[in-house]
């Protein structure tokens, strides 16, 4: 707890400075103060928490789920076949050079305002870290441990489940922790570009009404949710990877 004190102090200082500047500027449509944002959050709590947040979370989790399944599948396939890895790895890396925000309107054109256009943006942003991290994890398997298993008569399946999977679990967790905020950002961007509900859509709507606090409120909520999910993943990681402590 004590190690978090500097971070709390810094955040408090920034919030106080922000509050002072916002009061001095007195232009809430450009820079609303933190207290105005908090008030807005409370005022819009029903729509934000009960309508917009579930919509964004639907996109986020669907995108994340597809990314995990797709990323794990690709990583395992590339680990099994060197030829496949040589063919796919550069393509996967190249896919990250596509500016997602620029291509997203195209997805709206393809899939309309349905959930799939937004899920696709999320998947495009998150499958990369999952695929690469898990693939690197599978590849970082200790050669000596693998040979030891071979001398015990282990099959490829044994090596995969008894060595490669547990050894790449820490990589998987790092990837998920990276992918969660990215998937929320992806969902919000997609909603900005074309949607009928969701926190990104709501934030954009507030923008058109020049409601500064209304723009910020959904963003604050998104950040809080991202932090909460990462914290939950941290707890699961500590439970599952207890053997890593003090290494």
């Amino acid at each position: 707890m004590r190690k978090n004190i500097p971070a709390f102090a810094l955040i408090t200082t920034i919030l106080v400075l922000w509050q002072i500047i916002a009061i001095l500027l007195d232009a809430p449509y450009i820079l609303p103060s933190p207290t105005q944002i908090a008030a807005k959050l409370w005022e819009l709590r029903e729509t934000l928490f009960l309508v917009q947040l579930p919509a964004t979370m639907g996109v986020t989790f669907m995108g994340l789920g597809i990314s995990v399944a797709f990323g794990l599948g690709l990583a395992v396939a590339m680990d099994c076949s060197e030829k496949l890895a040589n063919a796919l790895y550069p393509v996967i890396v190249a896919s990250q050079t596509i500016p997602t925000t620029a291509i997203a309107p195209l997805f709206v054109l393809w899939f309309g305002y349905s959930i799939w256009s937004k899920v696709l943006v999320t998947v495009l942003m998150t499958f990369f870290p999952i695929t690469i991290a898990v693939f690197d994890g599978l590849k970082s398997t200790s050669r000596e441990m693998e040979e030891l298993l071979i001398t015990y008569g282990a099959s490829k399946k044994d090596i995969f489940f008894k060595l490669k999977v547990p050894q790449s679990l820490p990589h998987f967790f790092s990837a998920i922790k990276m992918a969660v905020p990215l998937s929320i950002i992806g969902a919000a961007i997609a909603e900005w570009l074309g949607a009928q509900s969701g926190l990104g859509y709501f934030s954009k709507r507030m923008m058109t009404q020049l409601d500064g606090a209304g723009v910020f409120a959904p963003i604050v909520l998104l950040s809080a949710v991202a932090m909460l999910i990462v914290a939950i993943i941290n707890i699961i990681e500590k439970k599952l990877l207890g053997w890593r402590k003090e290494i």
Partner: protein
Amino acid sequence: MLEFKNVTFKYDEDETDMLENLSFDVNEGEFISIIGRSGCGKSTVFRLINGLLTPQKGEILFDGQNIKSMRNYSAYMPQKDLLFPWRTIEKNISLAMEIQKKSKAEIKKQAEEMLKEVGLWEYKDKYPKDLSGGMRQRASFARTLLSGSSLFLLDEPFSALDSLTKISLQEWLLTEWEKHKKTVLFITHDVEEAIFLSEKIYVVSDFPITHFEEFKIPLPYPRKREDMKRSDIVELKEMLIKNLRQEAVL
């Protein structure tokens, strides 16, 4: 039990052979140490025995059968304990039995008996990071014992330990060997360790390896530390060290 018949082996990246027409035998129940300078090919011999490498010429036979078609005939214990950090000690020593698809009840029974035998019962639910170096090597040896193989290939298993732990583990290893009647091939750099443990010592004296120089140790089992002070043993030790030094100069 184990027979090398004119085995020749060369690594792809090397220009010269590592082993050339090497032939030797190991009889059932023997404890043989292999000594030689670093990089002379001792570990290559082990990797050929356990099938991780394949000879270009010659045959390796186990109980008269070519090892090419065999599995799980030898158990390898390397210098590093190679305990899996995510497995508890009980799960670690059960590894080979899991691969052999033994029943859960059988695995548990054998693992528990072994943990008691090697003095690690209280540590069965701990992870390798919680154990000292000596305990980890004992756990690693327990895992080797539970592999069910009758030929043990121990590659400098005690070289990373402090001298006191090393001495007590050497004595412990001999007790275990006498109890389980396994065949042991033991690689070491330590001449005293080789003499104390083994019935025979194979010295690697040429490169590529074409033969082993064989030395019998004139000590009965069970052995005591004091035996190492006998004049004939001291003489043998000096002679072996001199041999190894000459090789190092060459």
